[in-house]
């Protein structure tokens, strides 16, 4: 069944026609051009399609697009405010926390959320929280370093 849904995407209202059997991932990439949301495993394991949905990170391949009707979705492309990168984004650049870069948007969006909730994390807590996102280049050390280093900017 085709229906029209309205939701906030990166702060702006969007109206889009979706099928009931389309996932949020498909609609974000194929209909709304949100290419920072990556498609890889399609089954909730790799976490590369992670977005904030109504304030919490979710894997958008396991969410139906119709569920987003009336909701709020934020992607990695939408977390910067007024063109300024958030601290964890700057930290990723400083630490060279990417190799191929394919997993970066997911790690950035999830860690920006995580650091707001827990601005004093241990290394173990960072690893535990991010265990649902995979970096196939296996560049985890720099990613965790970048997040731990950025944490100071999230403390009030």
């Amino acid at each position: 069944m085709t229906r029209t849904i309205t939701f906030k995407l990166n702060g702006r209202p969007r109206v889009v026609e979706v099928e009931d059997n389309e996932t949020l991932l498909e609609v974000l990439r194929n209909k709304l051009g949100e290419l920072s949301v990556k498609a890889a495993c399609y089954k909730g394991e790799c976490g590369l399609c992670t977005v904030l949905f109504n304030g919490r990170p979710v894997k958008s391949c396991m969410v139906l697009a119709v569920e987003a009707d009336g909701g709020d979705v934020v992607t990695a492309a939408g977390i910067a405010s007024n063109g300024e990168l958030v601290p964890v984004q700057k930290s990723f650049i400083e630490h060279g926390a990417f190799q191929c870069g394919f997993c970066t948007p997911a790690f950035v969006v999830a860690s920006h959320y995580f650091l707001q909730k827990n601005p004093n994390p241990t290394r173990e807590e960072v690893k535990e929280f991010l265990s649902g996102i995979l970096c196939r280049c296996t560049g985890y050390k720099q990613i965790v370093d970048a997040i731990l280093d950025a944490a100071k900017y999230y403390r009030k």
């Binding site: 909730g44 919490r56 979710v58 969410v63 569920e67 265990s131």
Partner: protein, 295 residues
């Protein structure tokens, strides 16, 4: 496009706001409708074309299913749509209950991963019926029962024996589980959950243990549940009986656990051989019981 694995087959989606409406929809579309909760199980199964449905009934719009309530003397009541994250947040705000239902807290902290836990529900994780998930163990440990409501009334069903296999349960297709009750554990009991996982999030062997009054021979109680290593949750009742014999628990353990392992029909897969799983069950069960005895 309808390629399996990446896309979903066609269906119609509905999100009722009342339990009555949801049950009516399921009854009218009997056999062709599926319940969706967090969606992890359903969307996964449907992408792999293991399940199909003409109608997908999303129960997350039914407000009364989102609740966590402690009923002193009865137990902990958890609504069907409560997610893993919400359960962890509840336990962190209620340290007394976290200790009382410690094995449940430890298991939910290891359920899937932190991002999936924002969607995955406690009840859905049990009803999914997959062997290697985390919620069935503590549910069987605390003698949990689910409340199933259908057009012909309601009933309580023990979690032990509820699941028959992946996506298969004793429930009728038009029944909805509204909540699960984890029963009040014996006074002064302690419990723990141990998960030994492969490099993915999946458990190879999960052990849930509860110990109450270990030094009082008359009131002593030990409970053990094995999950992930067997197709269905296994409550080790013969071991529990064995440990009620005269003598110290420590002295009875080895023989009882050896017998339990021999009774088990253990999974063999690329992550671990059956023999290795049996070895792990043995040492983890003994180690976990001993650690609770010495606390």
């Amino acid at each position: 496009m309808s390629a399996p694995y990446t896309t979903l087959p066609e269906f119609k989606y509905v999100k009722p706001t009342s339990l009555e409406e949801a049950i009516r929809l399921l009854k009218e579309n009997e056999g062709n409708a599926k319940i969706m909760n967090g969606g992890i199980g359903l969307i996964g199964f449907m992408k792999e074309r293991l399940l199909e449905a003409e109608l997908v009934v999303d129960i997350k719009g039914i407000k009364e299913l989102k609740k966590i309530e402690y009923l002193p003397g009865k137990g902990l009541l958890v609504g069907a749509t409560v997610t893993g994250t919400e359960m962890i947040e509840f336990f962190e705000k209620n340290p007394d209950l976290r200790e009382k239902f410690r094995a449940f807290y430890e298991a939910v902290s290891h359920m899937a991963d932190a991002i999936l836990r924002n969607r995955a529900s406690i009840v859905g994780n049990i009803l999914e019926g997959l062997p290697y998930v985390d919620m069935p163990g503590p549910a069987v440990l605390f003698d949990a029962e689910v409340h199933a409501v259908g057009p012909n009334g309601e009933k309580w069903i023990p979690v032990d024996g509820l699941v028959l296999g992946p996506a298969m349960t004793k429930l009728e297709p038009y029944e909805i589980v509204t909540e699960i009750l984890y029963k009040e554990p014996p006074e002064g009991s302690r419990s723990a959950y141990v998960k030994l996982q492969s490099r993915s999030e999946y458990g190879i062997v999960n052990i849930s243990v509860l110990v109450a009054n270990p030094n009082s021979f008359a009131n002593r109680e030990v409970r053990v549940v094995v999950t992930s290593a067997t197709q269905l949750p296994f409550r080790a009742r013969s071991l529990e009986q064995h440990l009620k014999q005269p003598g110290k628990i420590e002295d009875l353990l080895d023989e009882g656990v050896e017998k339990m392992v021999n009774e088990l029909d253990v999974i063999e897969d690329p992550y671990a051989t059956a023999e290795f799983r049996k070895y792990l069950i043995k040492i983890l069960t003994i180690k976990t019981i001993k650690s609770l005895l010495s606390r």
